[in-house]
Symmetry: C2
Subunit: 351 residues, 2 copies
């Protein structure tokens, strides 16, 4: 494993000089203001002035050794992914990102340079998705951690949005984004560190710097607002765990042809002696969007969301199959932080 | 030290059964809804519908071994204080609490009963201040931790509020709430655990279950909105650190008569061989509100905010004195998570 910028920064012994030094760093890197955030950040509260009384809001934690490893994330990747993971919840409901508040936990051994790297990565990502840092809280923590609360303007004006469990038998099940790719990247990075970028480049990138499907989410939610037969959710815990939630009791006949599985997933399945379909179904954290719609709506979805791919058909009963063979989803269920028997299947090992 | 409910719960080996089990616990304990939060919590985002486009918003972390010790906090006290600490930022700007989003970090050894205790304490506090849990994020963490983002309706409609640094020479410096009491409680609890409740009961209570000055904050902010000569801020890091921020470059002649220092602070000063005034000035986390106003406004503040006590007078220069003697505030500066030389002065020891 080659020398890694994070580790060397972690080891250098020049921490931020003070809390004010950290705040200065943040103010330098996040200079943006917007109409909805007119005041300075160093007051006790951020004061927001929204253009609409409707708000979509979500909190997401991104903790070292739970959600990421400093052994193979660069600081900039860690900061950017913390924000991507949080904003993906806004993407999943088609909301336009507006602002975020940052809880930041810094271990004493973290250098100022590593902190600056994290914040720079986060700042660059915030500009690319048009979201403004309005404030937050700094404190010591046993390990580096981020806890972000993000908010945005709902796509459908002030109408609340809930689109799970609308699917009927025969509906087309679809996915915008990848399934399983990020998990392959995670497993490979866990095994060999950043060396894994050589053999599984896009899988590693899917874990280190996942895409954010904001436009796709907005297009799908617009359609779901017009057509109540469209079901939709983000697929963060893996298809095996999220499909039952999306379908709320119904099953599905899945079609996962080898030709549509990503080359990195096929390569990993061969290297590790696993079925590629199980990697596709069990993998989480791809930040993809899963949905189901009547066949009549499917052409419109393919047109508006070119990334969307058909995954199969919804069944009248609660059973699942994959490529014609019966499938027990619970055997490859995705990630549950809390189910004791599931730790070996966790995104990262537990403490 | 007597047996302690938290420790015994921490040691029992029955963790929550699953993430869904944790969510069920949360939904049981936080059944409240409000007009501004019409949808269920288990969607990807909370959808809020606000009655005003103006929002005051703040994030606050409350982490084990940084902000509290499980050795002497009961689970209910820890959960309640996590919320109090966050809502105190709303109190400081006179905002009416509306909702909060909860990042929750659970170590595997935490029992379900301890988690239930934390959440029950937080739920009771949320009802007493009228704030609604709208969602959040659960994850593993190396130690128990809470990261709350709270929001509320600003007191002064949609006018942004900033009231530091308005003070002029001769202005009355005042404090609503205690100074130094919570720090004495913290130091005593660190020394002897909950035994300290016997000798310093109100000081320990000020650390374990601090008051929330919502009505006082609203009254003061209303006055500050009417009279731009009133300066105001919450005093969370201790007078020594916060007074220079409030006065933005000016000094003050402080009067801290022994007769107005809390009996627990006087007792601790005697027990520990310290000057009681230094405990008053250095202590943080009392969640009190400090302000400065022209003498003509002072009678009105005393009437509207009976808790407010005069602390002294603002000086034309940047110097400070206490009871007639020169005072170097930097010698007893309050808490900075990040200043290396300040660790011995920290609320809790660093890792």
């Amino acid at each position: 494993m080659t020398a890694h910028p994070w580790n060397s920064l972690y080891r250098d012994s020049s921490p931020p000089a003070s809390e004010d030094d950290c705040l200065a760093l943040i103010n330098d890197l996040f200079p943006e203001r917007s109409g909805h955030f007119p005041l300075a950040r160093d007051d006790d509260c951020a004061f927001l002035r929204l253009s609409s009384p409707a708000l979509a809001l979500s909190t997401d934690a991104f903790l070292e050794d739970v959600h990421f490893r400093s052994a193979y994330f660069t600081p900039a990747e860690a900061g950017a992914k913390a924000l991507t993971a949080a904003v993906s919840d806004l993407a999943a409901v088609g909301a336009e990102p507006l602002g975020f508040s940052l809880g930041l936990f810094l271990p004493p051994i973290l250098s100022r340079a590593a902190l600056a790297g994290c914040l720079a990565g986060m700042a660059e990502k915030s500009r690319s998705c048009g979201i403004i840092l309005t404030g937050g809280d700094l404190s010591r923590g046993p390990r580096l951690g981020f806890c972000l609360t993000v908010w945005g303007a709902p796509a459908a004006g002030d109408a609340p949005f809930a689109a799970r469990g609308r699917a009927g038998p025969g509906d087309v099940l679809f996915l915008a984004g990848r399934a399983g790719l990020a998990r392959v990247g995670f497993m490979a990075l866990e095994k060999t560190g950043r060396q894994a970028l050589g053999r599984y480049p896009e899988a590693c990138a899917a874990h280190l710097a996942p895409p954010l499907l904001l436009a796709e989410g907005q297009a799908l939610v617009r359609l779901a607002g017009q057509d109540p037969s469209l079901s939709l959710m983000d697929c963060s815990d893996g298809l095996a765990r999220d499909l039952p939630r999306l379908l709320a009791g119904r099953g599905a006949d899945l079609e996962i042809p080898r030709g549509e599985i990503h080359a990195d997933v096929l390569r990993a399945a061969e290297d590790w002696g696993l079925a590629p379909e199980s990697l596709v179904l069990a993998g989480g954290e791809d930040y993809s969007l899963a949905g189901a719609c009547p066949p009549s709506l499917w052409p419109r979805i393919r047109r508006d969301v070119p990334l969307a791919r058909a995954l199969g058909r919804v069944r009248p009963d609660a059973l699942f199959s994959c490529n014609g063979a019966p499938l027990r989803l619970e055997d490859l269920a995705g990630f549950d932080h809390f189910r004791p028997g599931n730790y070996s299947n966790a995104r990262l090992k537990m403490f």
